[in-house]
Symmetry: D2
Subunit: 276 residues, 4 copies
């Protein structure tokens, strides 16, 4: 009657800890954190090529300076220094549709477009993933790209993974990530389609809309067979590292009180009788 | 008058992203996620030995099966599937005093005991760290261990980093982590003191109280010069990876509704008219 | 060049605290928490009728027993007893699309449908609100309801605010909330449309789909002129109260360790050598 | 063998929802949100006097302007507009030791001091509460106050609930809250002791250290028999309301992008070659 509760991720006995079928103790000293993350997500250790590519995309997501997430984490730590985990959590909560969501949106766009044949509406597509570098001989990527751009244009939606407010004309991370993927034989139809979407969008909108870092990450994660719904999680796990570093810096050189003071001072000054 | 807001972690211009003084693009493809985390925390790339040791302690913290954190993350995802980051945050919020705090407490115990000379009360000691493997010739580790145990006994406090409810008589991770630290020349006075504390506590309490995995991690993180206040953050960043994997599994084989149903059913049954 | 940072919610001087233009000290002893919440959201004190209705809908949202939110909060407190706020936050994080979102979705459906004239696509409609009980003489509610139901049917979307898995055939809260709204002259076109949608859906789908509590709350909140994007916040603020009560009970009679033990035991048992 | 999972807070059947033994539907329209919060925490409806006092202390905690919590919530909403609950949670996470903790600390100080007789060390005292206005004839409040102040002075700890950086020389909320408590016969030994601690501290430290708002709230919550560990929760539940109001304002007049832009611009400018 009732459903069995079971997880394949990890279990332990008195003298063993097993993660994804591997004895943890045997992995220690041989396995890097990034490779272990790959094991957690994929259920097997990465090849050397997958390791290089997976580590590259997650490294890209760790640190972006004084982002809203980092500021929120620092302000939270100021109020609750007993709870480092709460400050990290507060920072991660900002990795939503605007930030963490862009790699997810790019991956969804690509994975949905490249399903062959497409799944019927209503079926759970969220865990469908593409085999890395798989060939879909019957589809014409250029027409898929064209359809994606025209669909977005018709519904006045921005296309995920294109353009960047600061890194203009080109995001320096994109070329490097695509180069790493290609060198490691992990640049297939997802990467190609992402690039074609950028080309086509630039043509249709008559302005530079090159693939940005999150577009590249969404495409490469798709080559690695990571479901698009999990791609936001890559940003979340990587940024957790960056936020711990921000909180370490905040402990050593606190900024939160000064940030608060400036914002509070200005925001209420127009109301205070007689104050500047 | 006002304090300058500045961070040394990261910054960017149109064509460069710099993290801790390194050009991010140049690191991509060469640097693993764990090494990049070390760079974030320490401000420099690890040596090969530090890399092996740092990756080993963080890998140990990623996955512990169906913990309260993993269950909370799954239940949260059930209610808010639009917000993967919220489910990860909910899981991380449980990495507090009881779980994430044990490595922190062990590191604090060691770092505080080995300050030489001890800092005056009231000074900020939280960012004081020990040079890795430094020699403190004037202190006698055995008497420090003895004092630590007697102080805890007198105040009826548990000693952080000793014993384990499941991994008895020995935590298999401890020996391996200490072995890795020793092989990589990162086993110094912090590790030695932790082991002496375990020996002394076993003697004083007349039962097996060996160093557990979080005790080993607290000791080794101290050898790496990571401030004790940041040690909880090692658990937080590592567990973020594990929680994303749990949520991926939850997407594929949902357990939350069943967990809810069982607990809700039982908790309200004693009140329902006609039930037991 | 830069935008001014200002908030109209609150400010203070050495001898005054002002909230939404009211001297806080003068309100103390005269104003209930619910009325103060209305002041915060609407910028003015409620009439007596608005007070009764607003308090009724928020009271309805406080306590729903051992929900996934309450369980997540208890599990989080178990791991981080130093941080009550973290446990409440973990519980609130589950008030997303599935739970908190249903009142929001109902309110969006009604507020969007009753815009008169509808705003052009692409304009920010999120802060557009309806005057309480306003008359829109030119619209025919029955045809609006019919269009809503057929649109949802065509796109195979569930209609927010209808039906309930447990409270069948009728949700006892709905009739009471609508009665309170009517007695207090706050039952206008939003409530009427919600009811018509329920009638029409029951007819089209040939099964009972009466308005449930969140449908009633979404409709009444719309009568009070609360923007639909804020309706999820009503559930969040109310549930924060319920979660504090759950954590108080958890302090007195802890359940988290037992919950963990059962789930962990079962989930890993299939993997343990020698177990079933 | 296994512990029973049960909660006394709420349960439901097809036609009834019961909260703390009351039929929810019967309470709707008659019960305010604040009184319902009292019911949740105390297990019974408040008297009229308790209602006035409880609502007064919770109202005091709702809105404090552009606090670090409010800023963190706004920044989080900017990154994750799909998740209002996440932004509220991020704001609440800052209600820790520094903010939410001060009422808790004051209540702990008072409740611990007034236990009569004190419980043996090691017993769970966290849920022990004082009967409202109870008389403890054998204790001398003035000597208790004197001992509290000298203990704090000896250990160089700040005394919770005294002094305020802005509201000088007197916090205008304190006198009003104490007046409301007295008028409603809920000013007993906890309030008296708090005031005596303020007097004694001012004398010993030779500067004005009057009771502040959180000190008054901690004392009055103790009169209401609310366990000190739950007092932080009063701040959390009240502030959830304020944070929803901040997020509503943020939707209407967004500040987050401007806050981010200023902080990010300044924090990275010292590193940028060629920038100011």
């Amino acid at each position: 009657m009732t459903k069995k509760l079971k997880s394949d991720l990890g279990w332990s006995t008195a003298d063993r800890i097993v993660v994804r079928g591997h004895d943890l103790v045997e992995l220690l000293g041989k396995t890097s954190l990034g490779d272990f993350a790959f094991l957690e997500l994929k259920g097997r250790m990465p090849t050397q090529q997958e390791s290089i590519v997976f580590n590259a995309i997650t490294v890209t997501l760790v640190e972006h300076g004084m982002t809203p997430s980092a500021i929120a984490a620092r302000l939270t730590y100021f109020g609750a220094p007993e709870s480092l985990q709460g400050a990290v959590a507060a920072g991660l909560l900002g990795m939503g549709d605007r930030f963490g969501g862009s790699a997810e949106d790019a991956a969804r766009m690509l994975q949905t477009a490249l399903e062959d044949p497409p799944l019927p509406a209503g079926e759970r597509v969220e865990t469908e993933v593409l085999p890395a570098g798989a060939a879909y001989p019957h589809a014409d990527l250029r027409s898929i790209a064209s359809r994606i751009v025209s669909d977005h244009k018709a519904s006045k939606q921005a296309i995920a993974g294109l353009g960047h407010p600061i890194h203009k004309p080109l995001d320096p991370r994109t070329a490097k990530l695509f180069e790493i993927a290609a060198e490691n034989k992990l640049s297939g139809r997802c990467v190609e389609l992402m690039q074609l979407v950028g080309d086509e969008a630039s043509r249709v909108y008559s302005r530079d809309l090159p693939v940005n870092a999150t577009g590249a990450i969404g495409a490469i994660a798709s080559e690695l067979g990571i479901p698009w719904r999990v791609c936001r999680g890559l940003a979340v796990m990587a940024r957790a590292i960056g936020l711990v570093a921000h909180l370490q810096e905040e402990m050593q050189e606190p900024l939160a009180a000064e940030i608060w003071s400036r914002i509070e001072g200005e925001s209420s000054s127009h109301l205070r009788p007689g104050s500047d």
